[in-house]
Symmetry: C2
Subunit: 297 residues, 2 copies
Amino acid sequence: MKTTEYIELIDKKLDEYMPENIMPEDIFKAMKYTVTLPGKRLRPIMCMEACRIFGGNYEDAIPTACAIEMLHAQTLIHDDLPCMDNDDYRRGKPTNHKVFGEANAVLAGDALLSFAPQIILKNSKNLGCEKLVKIMEEYTQYAGAYGVIAGQVADIEAEKNWRENIFGLEPSKLLDFIHTHKTADLFKLSLRTGAIIAGASEQELEMITEFAQKLGVAFQISDDILDEISTFEEMGKTLGKDKDAGKLTYVTLYGLDEAKNKLSCILKDCYDMINGLGEKSDALVEIIKGMEKRVGL
Amino acid sequence: MKTTEYIELIDKKLDEYMPENIMPEDIFKAMKYTVTLPGKRLRPIMCMEACRIFGGNYEDAIPTACAIEMLHAQTLIHDDLPCMDNDDYRRGKPTNHKVFGEANAVLAGDALLSFAPQIILKNSKNLGCEKLVKIMEEYTQYAGAYGVIAGQVADIEAEKNWRENIFGLEPSKLLDFIHTHKTADLFKLSLRTGAIIAGASEQELEMITEFAQKLGVAFQISDDILDEISTFEEMGKTLGKDKDAGKLTYVTLYGLDEAKNKLSCILKDCYDMINGLGEKSDALVEIIKGMEKRVGL
């Protein structure tokens, strides 16, 4: 399936899964607002595609795929809050707290953290309870303080003091830590749960995890590059903030050219790995090509 | 088992479950800080006691009981934020954001929402995957927008405009909605999961849910009364704020005497119900007596 077809399916299901007219409406509206903003849907595509390439039916992965997009939206809502990155725009629209107020944005994010796994539990009963428990284990691991939240905490702390070896890490190691947790961990959650739904072996899970790690780091490097070279119109969010703040990014640390070189090398590795993963995957190739294109590689 | 014995056990296990020296340490420290503040541990006691009175081994309920205390701590951390109730003290100590900063407090709360179910998944494997899935269903239902978050949203909205029938509800109905979700829902989660671990029947689950509803409303009424009559020294948090803000509470709506009468009636119902729940329960009786005592009934 092509990424455009996946996106259409995901958008339809996200709309279906997110209720609106339940009291208190404000909170359900706030949840739905950010979840259904148009996006690339990389994570749910990866989840369904991993399920397919390891011999499963991608339709079995739809609830989990959509739940991971909800979790991703949760991280965006809270990352944009005034006490964090204080961003006014996301995907070209006002951020959640700008529309619904700060208290509702905090609570909408909280609610998504329970709503997302609930969507899996309600709509994936056909997988059987053993797989459901495994998916819950993956979800709670990567969504929490061992996963994406570790990345966000380190990212915030690294905004100012990264030259002082915070956490006892040199800047390059700290940057790896941030990229691994802030971005690669949700890619791992997506690809691993898709593979688990398909019944992949431990060895296959290891391979897909390594692939997710590389792809996640590549994506974050491309994001760091875009913060430097792109525009609000192209990205739908305020850019250049990292640079202005002297924040630790791949570009701040290595310069623009070296960042592009590094990205190119990692993406080459990713292409090489795809063939070893299972079935041929046009969608994963498209995702990598998309990353090359957005930074002009 | 007496409540004091339960509390000792719970405090020991909470300390064990909450790691400290994991990077990024700030977030694990922030999580542990609020979870391990001394408290009455009502919810975990209810969970273990429900397991016991329906014929289970209370030790099987320890991870779930502690996870619900972590979830409760999460709601406290986020409710105390400047954009919500803006409280500086909780259980006699500075609130989470006062110690760790607002960003870390938001993220510590987020992290607890995944950490708590992870504790259950990791430490309750002996229950088997069917019961684990049931517990996850209960957890995600009561922790989210259908549960405790609905109560918090309504509570915030009711602070100013409750006379205008927000959500289309008269003040008394709105107050029921807030009490049901803000307080009774976590009591339901505690008692129901304890009963599920013991293998209780559907009928027993219905009974315990009804009991949890009554006890939750009683607890919230006693809290409303205490906000009026107690002191910072007794409660460890700033009081009288509800009254000063003209907020919708049982006391604002019905007056202090009527609130006490109502509480007394509900607690009488609770005593009557306890005998029908299963084994004799000293701990549940102690909890009710505690509510009577704190408001001088």
